[in-house]
């Protein structure tokens, strides 16, 4: 189909551009470096070095991959507008929505490559250090990828109308909110007026709840993650990124480029 070729072209081009960015490699390198430094940290603990190894390793990969998701996403649309390469795209028979979707696919693919490289290195390292290969960690990487897709979609959204600095601040703020949104359940009983209740609930459901992707404890402690949990996470991701991309398309459709 024609539209597939066009989407593929944009996605591939986005990927090529993303992997040119030195920051991309730097962040991957840091992610791997910190994951491996977990070996040193584990020496300081008493008992169960494997737990510390996995905790530090998975946390570093998580942290740096979030940074990759944020910083790769915010540059992409902004750069096209800055450098006016966007004129070349908009003058072609490709809808603005296809452009945004193509960009997202390219970013998703870039992230996949980054995450898989980090995962492979980390698995290898884990195997050498502890001699065990845990399939639970695969589930962690799957859910981490879902989380990254949401963050990427949000950073793309901001990138379609805002400068990189503001986009990065907003995206990181939403990430932090997403990680702590679960605390809403702790204080919602203190909301008294109907307006407060409504506003708070509204925000709670609109903002992304990233706690569902936090399976590091379950994976390291091997307490198991149910299929319901995984299924719910994947569906949530699919639905949420669709919503965010639709919003990005709506905004981008109205933009003019002087």
């Amino acid at each position: 189909m024609k539209i597939q070729t066009k989407l593929k072209a944009i996605a591939l081009n986005t990927f090529k551009e993303a992997v040119r960015n030195k920051i991309f490699y730097l962040l991957i390198a840091f992610g791997v470096f910190f994951a491996m430094s977990s070996k040193l940290v584990s020496l300081l603990t008493i008992g169960n070095e494997a737990k510390v190894l996995k905790d530090v390793g998975l946390a570093s990969i998580h942290f740096f991959s979030v940074l990759i998701a944020v910083f790769t996403g915010i540059n992409l649309v902004y750069k096209e507008i800055e450098k006016k390469t966007i004129y070349n795209i908009l003058s072609k028979p490709i809808s603005r929505s296809s452009f945004i979707i193509g960009k997202f696919i390219g970013l998703a693919f870039t992230l996949l490559v980054a995450l898989v490289s980090m995962a492979v290195i980390f698995f290898f390292f884990l195997f050498i250090s502890t001699g065990e290969l845990d399939s639970g960690i695969l589930i962690f990487f799957l859910l981490l990828y879902m989380e990254l897709l949401i963050i990427t979609a949000i950073s793309l959204l901001f990138s379609s109308f805002s400068t990189p600095i503001l986009s990065s601040i907003f995206t990181i703020c939403i990430y932090l909110i997403g990680e702590t949104l679960w605390t809403f359940n702790l204080f919602k009983e203190y909301l008294k007026t109907p307006i407060d209740k409504f506003a708070a609930h509204f925000l709670y459901y609109i903002l992304p709840n990233l706690e569902r992707f936090n399976v590091k404890s379950a994976v390291v402690m091997k307490t198991g993650i149910g299929t319901f949990h995984v299924l719910n996470a994947v569906l949530y991701t699919a639905v949420y990124i669709t919503a965010v991309l639709v919003l990005a398309i709506l905004i981008f459709n109205k933009r003019e480029f002087k």
């Binding site: 024609k2 539209i3 070729t5 066009k6 593929k8 072209a9 944009i10 591939l12 081009n13 090529k16 551009e17 040119r20 450098k83 006016k84 390469t85 966007i86 004129y87 070349n88 795209i89 908009l90 003058s91 072609k92 028979p93 490709i94 809808s95 003019e256 480029f257 002087k258």
Partner: protein, 303 residues
Amino acid sequence: MKALEIKNLKKSFQSNFLIKQFHILKNINLSVEKGDIYGFLGPNGAGKTTTIKCILGIIFPDAGEINLLGKPSNAIESKSKLGFLPEHPYFYDYLTPVELLTFTGQLFAIPKDRLKERTLQLIELVGMKGKEHIKLKKFSKGMIQRIGLAQSLIHDPELLILDEPFSGLDPIGRKELRDIILSLKDNGKTIFFSSHILQDMELIVDKVGIILEGETRKEGKLSELISRSVRNYEIVFTGMEEQAMKENNLDCIPRDKNFILRAETNEETNRLIGLVNRGNGKILSVTPAKMTLEDIFLKEISR
């Protein structure tokens, strides 16, 4: 069916809520016949690029109608027959010409084999053979412009829109570009380009549209515009003293170290020649001159 038709196009910008709206396009009307070369002429800031951006859907007009090859310009498929070269072409500088043309072609969903063929053809056409695998960031402006032209032709468009294509080219480049445009016309293509350099336009256009301060001032076939103009004679002389020139009320234009007089009739020409001779001036040349496009243009501006 006209290749491009614009009716009553209006566009204004407002940079923030406090400043009043700034009307950049007040009333643009133009029509481009199929197979013509159309020159879109206007000084800097008249709204040429804005008009072109409205055609391409990069900017959304406030009012008016734009039809590309019979269909409204905001339909996606209209763009599949349209080729565009922006004023300052920017491409992904980490790509090579081949990669860029392949990418562009994919946006038109051109099948792979045909795309490969076209890519090679176009690289040769714009004279970039041998350099097709060098990254664009190493190219000079002229070379990028050539590649820009190639990417605007990758899908064999019926209508080509070029925004200031001659700017920044050296005389050889200009000639080459003129040749390419003429050969495209021979192949049945319609070319619409904007410029403020009149000499290039004069040599190749069929029809001209003059735009000033967001309005179309004059539009018409070049042959008609110029033939309507008055033939005059250009007298180039030197050696006369300023005092003498003033005494004789000679309304002359200095050019380099000489002076020019314009006369509209034979009789006037003779009279002026006599005046110069009596004032001890030396006649260097007497040339019948047509009114140039520049003259028409300057006349419009002064109104």
